[in-house]
């Protein structure tokens, strides 16, 4: 199998970037997309003309959230509910031209080529995406029963891998699906209730300060989320935010 890649190359944030075309032959339909890029990089190393393409990866089993890539205009490529590392070449046609771009959002500055800096997500979590419990102060785990439906609901949103596809696809570069996933995960549980209002206000303030845009409900994030997190979480986030802003306006300043 042969593929023609149009890949975004950019040496550093200070350099101007451009698309470059690479043809890779002898690929196998059972390869993952990232393995095809590995093959391209080995080819570039053999030719010694250009440096290999920089891209992020780690677990290669769809859970660490490190891989990214906008493939033919879609974050994580054409399949639903799948990260780039779990996308395989059988999803493409022989001799197909494939554009590969980094996540494009002001809040995710380019590091090199296809690698971006997503530390804004860590800072949003730092602002309040936790339950304040020091090690050792927890009571018995079964002391507070949690309705199964609620626990399942919390799990569904807690499955977020923090990859940033939601931001990459959004015309407003909004990270509200990411924030909503954490806010609704913790507020669904009794343990998370105490800090519920403060959490949503702090996290949204941090979200806005990082330069992410607002949600205008096009639901494109839901369509590309590799963990199928629903925009229902954003609706719930808005509701929680409104309630908290009325109850604790002082926390907004």
């Amino acid at each position: 199998m042969k593929l023609i890649f149009e890949i975004w190359r950019q040496e550093s944030p200070d350099h101007k970037g451009q698309f470059k075309t690479y043809e890779v032959n002898n690929l196998d339909t059972n390869m993952s997309f990232l393995e095809a890029l590995d093959v391209l990089n080995e080819q570039l190393l053999r030719e010694k003309k250009e440096e290999p393409v920089a891209f992020d990866y780690d677990c290669r089993e769809g859970i660490c959230g490190m891989c990214s890539l906008v493939i033919n205009g879609e974050p994580h490529g054409p399949l639903q509910g799948v990260t780039t590392c779990q996308l395989h070449l059988r999803s493409f046609k022989d001799s197909e031209r494939i554009t590969v771009e980094p996540w494009r959002a002001k809040s995710f500055p380019i590091v090199r080529d296809l690698v971006t800096d997503r530390s804004a997500f860590d800072r949003i979590i730092s602002s309040g995406g936790y339950i304040s419990v020091n090690t050792g102060s927890a009571g018995d785990a079964n002391a507070i029963p949690i309705e199964k439906a609620k626990a399942d609901q919390a799990f569904d949103v807690a499955a977020c891998i923090g990859c940033g596809a939601c931001v990459a696809t959004c015309k407003n570069s909004s990270a509200m699906l990411f924030v909503a996933a954490k806010v609704t995960h913790l507020s669904a549980l009794k343990q998370g209730e105490v800090e519920k209002e403060e959490r949503v206000l702090k996290m949204m303030t941090s979200h806005d300060m990082e330069g992410f845009g607002s949600c205008s409900q096009t639901k494109s994030c839901e369509a590309v989320c590799p963990k199928n997190i629903s925009t229902a979480a954003i609706t719930a986030l808005n509701r929680e935010y409104l309630r908290a802003a009325v109850k604790k306006p002082q926390a907004l300043s």
Partner: protein, 650 residues
């Protein structure tokens, strides 16, 4: 080499509690004068860094990924053991202790394992309080399952994503401390060496993977939570970035490396597809509850399985182990699959696979029930292979999964270098020669949340809060060696990529130091690795420079360490003249082909010391190319509470 395990005196059940009382404490106002460097942010590192910051220490945390949340603990599927006995089925601290020490084939310390079992209960409380969404029953209470053949249901789980949920809990605790100023976080940062003075750790040298800048950090204590070294085999279920560099470079500075040959090979992974393959994916062990393992008895194994008649199939596990059948322990299931493939009966591309067939279960239970039980695994399999396991049998093959060996630590989780603590998979202490399912998460979190914070305070209490100045000669010297090594790597100017060498090393390790090992094979592996190391240092090619984001350079440094470390693993496997747990020496088996332990000679921890601690990591090409120089020490394992027995599954 001083290998005093510092096991507290007294009855087994009282050791930890009396030790906690006897250890020195630091007053709250004193703690802020001490700095602790925590390297790695997986379950062990993140939980330790967060807890130490909560206590008031100054903490700096380091990870090579772009966020602490990416650490490979995130990929753990099955669950976490804890002897809560919520199911009232007879579990207890003592039972979890016994299962773990027996599962490890009696090659771990009684006192450490007992403490692990005790602390397991606190972990669940802590995680639930953090909002970890464990599975619950309809009454709202926590659900448990039995895992890995355990006779009690003690495994807590969050679907097949338990590691992810626990790590996100620890990560959120860590990020909370980052916001409070308790933890300073350094992402995309790799440890390249540690600074030691008279057997005491003084700091670390790191490389910023974005700018290439080499930095110095001084600390009163250093914690390595850098995970396992399964990637020495190139292909494993580990994340691609997982590496041995931190622990190996600590070893080069004098830390003892314990039982490096103890590796866990998991029987149910998706087989290799081709030479381009970058990693192997685990399929949960639970599949063996309803799947039957077989290979064709004879004939061309590559023919379509639907054309192979029932009487031409060899259900070899059921045949050899009639009482346990398909549910034999991991190491046995793995070894038998290899034997079948070695005998030319392997299925799928390259003949490296056996069938795991669900057709009996599907006709008994129906596709719907099977989908409810294993739907996500079947989907994942279909995604990767393009084959439908409802219609055609899965192909599986063993893959490297976990490494029980690691840096030697005493009861306080401190290595033989004072102040250098090692936690989680990076140390050797709790799993002996075989780890039980759902025990890795338990150990990482017990170390980080509940053990290290006590023991490190005890260490610091006997130290003055003065830091070694960064312009001290000690730092100058180590940093110059680190930069020399990078320069040496970049200047080779050969023709082959680090991946090529890594792949080749992986093949040697897999063939000779994998599921089955022999004297002859290990000797030839050592010679092959020494040759490969020569080739590496003469024919490596790295483009670009040291001062940029350079993934080829990152990988070259890690492969260089894997090459020397592979040699060490083979030496350890060669010296251990017995079979135990995941370590199977063909010379040491019963007439029935089962592992034969030698408790007379080998009921000990093998601890390897690097000879010439100063020159070993000089960064000079000529030094780096040389065969490793080692010395083997032992720490005797005393068993007072359990009786050493041999395992049988027939």
């Amino acid at each position: 080499m001083n290998l005093d395990g510092k096991i507290p005196k007294g009855a087994l059940a009282d050791k930890w509690s009396s030790h906690k009382f006897q250890m020195s404490l630091l007053a709250p106002a004193q703690k802020r004068h001490y700095k602790i460097l925590v390297v790695g942010t997986g379950l062990a590192g993140a939980s330790a860094a967060a807890t130490l910051a909560e206590l008031g220490y100054q903490v700096e945390a380091f990870c090579f990924q772009d966020s602490p949340r990416r650490a490979h603990s995130i990929a753990a599927q099955g669950g976490i053991n804890a002897c809560k006995n919520y199911q009232g089925d007879g579990d207890s601290v003592r039972r979890l202790f016994y299962d773990t020490i027996k599962g490890g084939d009696f090659r771990s310390r009684e006192a450490n394992v007992y403490r692990l079992a005790e602390e397991s209960q606190n972990i669940i409380d802590q995680a639930v309080a953090q909002g970890v969404p464990f599975a619950r029953d309809y009454g709202g209470f926590l659900d448990n399952r039995s895992f890995g053949g355990a006779q009690v249901s003690r495994t807590f789980y969050a679907k097949g994503q338990t590691g992810q949920q626990l790590l996100l809990g620890a990560y959120s605790a860590l990020q909370r401390q980052v916001a409070r100023g308790g933890v300073k976080l350094h992402t995309r940062t790799e440890l390249l060496d540690i600074v030691v003075d008279h057997d005491e750790v003084k700091g670390i040298i790191t490389r910023n993977l974005v700018s290439g800048k080499i930095n110095r950090f001084a600390g009163h204590a250093v914690v390595l939570a850098t995970g396992g070294y399964g990637n020495v085999f190139y292909l494993s279920t580990n994340a691609l970035g997982s590496n041995v560099t931190a622990t190996y470079r600590a070893y080069l500075r004098g830390a003892g490396f314990a039982n490096p040959c103890f590796t866990q090979i998991h029987p149910t992974c998706i087989p290799v597809k081709g030479n381009y393959q970058s990693k192997l994916t685990l399929m949960s062990e639970s599949l063996r509850n309803d799947g039957r393992v077989w290979v064709p008895k004879s004939g061309d194994p590559s023919r379509n399985p639907s054309q192979i008649a029932e009487e031409d199939r060899d259900y070899y596990l059921e045949r050899i182990y009639p009482s346990f059948g398909n549910l034999v322990p991991r190491d046995i299931a793995s070894r038998k699959a290899k034997e079948m493939c070695d005998a030319g009966k392997g299925v799928g591309p390259g003949g490296l696979g056996v069938y795991l067939d669900f057709s009996d279960a599907i006709s008994r239970l129906g596709e719907k029930t099977m989908g409810e039980r294993y739907g996500n695994l079947f989907d994942m399999y279909r995604q990767i292979t393009g084959e439908n396991p409802y219609k055609t049998p899965m192909r599986i093959y063993p893959a490297v999964h976990y490494t029980m060996g690691g840096l030697w630590v005493d009861y306080n989780l401190m290595s033989n270098i004072r102040g250098l603590h090692v936690i989680g998979e990076a140390n050797f202490s709790d799993h002996g020669s075989n780890r039980l399912g759902a025990s890795a998460l338990m150990q990482g979190l017990a170390d980080g949340y509940f053990i290290l914070p006590y023991t490190i305070s005890h260490y610091l209490a006997s130290h003055k809060p003065t830091l070694t100045p960064l312009d001290n000669n000690l730092f100058n010297r180590v940093e110059s060696q680190v930069t020399a090594k990078i320069r040496s790597l970049l200047s080779i100017g050969g023709s082959r990529s680090p991946h090529e060498f890594h792949r080749e090393l992986g093949k040697i390790m897999w063939n000779y130091c994998g599921m089955s090992r022999t004297t002859e094979g290990l000797r030839s592996a050592i010679a092959k690795i020494q040759q490969l190391k020569q080739d590496f240092w003469q024919d490596l090619y790295i483009p670009g420079s040291a001062g940029t984001f350079n993934q080829t350079l990152e990988s070259a440094g890690r492969v260089a360490d894997f090459l020397s470390f592979g040699e060490l693993m083979c030496q350890d496997a060669l010296a251990r003249e017995e079979s135990c747990g995941g370590h199977f020496r063909e010379e040491h088996q019963t007439s029935a082909g089962e592992a034969k332990r030698d408790d007379q000679k080998f009921a000990h921890v093998a601890v390897w010391q690097h000879v010439n601690q100063d020159r070993g990591s000089s960064g000079v090409k000529g030094d780096e190319m040389r065969p490793i120089k080692t010395k083997r020490h032992t720490e005797k394992l005393e068993f007072n509470e359990v009786q050493l027995t041999s395992r049988s599954y027939k």
